[in-house]
Subunit: 388 residues, 2 copies
């Protein structure tokens, strides 16, 4: 998606992630949207399209037209309002379509919102709804869950590359240490290896601290052409925002569980479009829905060599102090919480702060950033490259 004129994120924002069951889901989205518009220097009347990424709004909140409802509550008038879904990648799929609408000339200023509200529902209902990202037969009917699936990924990666408890723990302790200073994180508290390794087993080998928590939250970004951004010095350039798909059904299909084709395809397209390589990156947010996912993500993105990401993370290769690049300085999904549709835009919000040199956990001199958002069992992935 290269183009004649540069597209930018003119402003971004995220709510604190955590428990907000008292709000209507659209109200959560409105909170992030207003903050993103204010950050950009736009008024609601400036917006001429809205994209909303959410996965569970129908299943958990009985709200099927959240984009129109958020547009109503913001008093945007009859602008095109579109709800998009790509499981846990829904937020950045909304961002990508905002960018496409600007690029296609159908909109000048687009509001992109990611939102999810999960804590008001019973755990069984949430588990069931998340299972809609699997194929019904055989995956759902076999009782597959996300911890179960990523437990299988950990087993497969362990069998092939020797990845085990030490490597998983290193991801958990790094991200929780990074997240300790993130005021919007659900769990802003460091944990030590012993606490991780003695925590409750969820789906062998994954324990509680290997899993990102369900949460309520919203994040938003406003995109436009660079020349339309009211606060041009704070606008962040979008060098690429690419999306790819992969298998929905995995347990019966002989898929390789140590890598996600959607991530690899989106990354290849994004690096080509942005004309950058992994070694150029200063700071990265990857989709660590589980500790093992961060290991796979770093390999699929070419940030760390295939099969060597675990030991490299143990050695500190992606830590805030000295990481090249630093991975998940926000604390990632493991600290921030994972309100599914909001996650991708929260990653982007964190990277916008990094590239403006105003993040809580600032990577000194960060100029080039990448975010990676994964949906389902790799059914969808997006890779976004941002630059100051």
């Amino acid at each position: 998606m290269a183009g004649a004129e540069q597209i930018v994120v003119a402003g971004a924002a995220a709510t604190k992630f955590g428990r907000r069951p008292e709000l209507e889901i659209a109200e959560l989205g409105v909170e992030a949207a207003r903050a993103a518009l204010a950050d950009a220097g736009f008024e609601p009347a400036d917006v001429d399209a809205i994209y909303v990424g959410t996965f569970l709004a129908q299943s958990l909140n009985r709200q099927g037209v959240p984009a129109s409802l958020i547009a109503n509550l913001l008093d945007l008038g009859p602008v095109p309002a579109t709800t998009l879904e790509g499981a846990c990648a829904s937020g950045t799929i909304a961002l990508r379509h905002g960018i496409l609408a600007v690029r296609a000339g159908s909109a000048r200023v687009v509001l992109c919102v990611g939102v999810e509200q999960m804590t008001g529902a019973a755990t069984e209902a949430v588990t069931g709804a998340l299972g809609e990202a699997f194929r019904r037969d055989p995956d759902q009917e076999a009782g597959l869950t996300f911890p179960g699936f990523f437990g299988l990924v950990a087993d497969a990666h362990g069998a092939r590359y020797g990845t085990g408890r030490e490597e998983l723990t290193a991801v958990a302790t790094k991200n929780r240490a990074h997240g300790a200073t993130n005021p919007r994180a659900m769990f802003a508290e460091a944990v030590d290896a012993e606490r991780v390794e003695t925590s409750r087993l969820i789906a062998d080998p994954l324990r509680v601290f290997d899993c990102s928590p369900i949460a309520d939250g919203a994040a938003a970004a406003v995109v436009c052409r660079e020349s339309d951004a009211p606060r041009r010095s704070r606008a962040i350039r979008v060098l690429a925002c690419e999306q790819a798909s992969g298998p929905v059904s995995t347990i019966d299909a002989g898929e390789d569980l140590t890598s996600f084709v959607a991530t690899r395809a989106a990354a290849a397209a994004a690096y080509a479009t942005a004309d950058v390589k992994p070694a150029d990156l200063d700071v990265v947010e990857v989709h660590d829905c589980f500790t093992i996912a961060e290991i796979v993500d770093c390999e699929d993105l070419g940030i760390l060599p295939r099969g060597e990401a675990g030991p490299a993370i143990v050695a500190g290769a992606t830590r805030i102090a000295g990481g090249e690049p630093v991975v998940n300085p926000s604390g990632g999904l493991l600290s921030r919480g994972h309100p599914v549709g909001a996650t991708g835009l929260a990653q982007v919000h964190g990277l916008v702060a990094q590239l403006r040199d105003e993040a809580e956990n600032q990577v000194p001199g960060a100029r080039l950033a990448l975010s990676h958002n994964l949906g389902g069992t790799g059914a969808a992935a997006t890779v976004t490259v941002l630059a100051s």
Copy 2:
């Protein structure tokens, strides 16, 4: 959405609408997709993005990533696969985003699919799931249903303009007469006024024959630049494909129920982009989810004068023989059935056949066509203008 090079529908197809509960929802989509690709002269390997419009796939079919699953089943490789929702307008929202992707330069050939599978679920489950197009508080909690909402629309239109039983019946008998020759219609059978007027009362004043039936079905269209269409003489030009939003909550907000702002806004944009006026149109498919909706649609689209659509339809102004324009020659949703996400693309498929001069119910010499797809209580609407 005007642009340097003409975008076309290179091919289109629809399944027969009716009862197909034995299939997985994605398989229904695949059936329409393969037929549309064959109609266009493309192979699956030519496709570089897929958009799927559906509203109830999660709530009724527990399938949250249908776009990725359809891409898997068609063996498209890791192309971007995006699921979009806009209640009953989901199908044409998918079409619009396929066009935007081509226009933005991010894809060359895009497969747009609309699909819904509703007959496998209990009626109460379908009614509940459709209610997700309303706001939760107060509309859902007050027990609003779609027949109830459009009953209120009929009452409001009747109070203001005198629209009553005779006008509603005229829509039902016209559309069922038109649909009698449509091989893909769920109810390809004409009905007379007496049968309409003695049918079961659903939501006063609406009776069974005032309501479109729930159904299973899929429709698809392939879009690309005109120069990329393999069968250029059969490609249909997209002069405009515009989308707008409107109020989600209506029963407590003092909204005018005799007109939908989303339709008016989408139509104004579409007429301006296409540089045509209602009087230029030869053939139109409007969203007659209920008989009263066709009356309101014709007024909102400027096809018939405000407040006079009912009497004009009684007088035969939009009938296949002599209508200017002919409205719903396919039989509309009332005959075809209304598998929510599929409807918009089924309308487009019908108009593509008209503009190729090969429709079952051909409007002689049809050169300019318009489709109108309405979502929810007017939360979303699209207007598409096509030309041979």
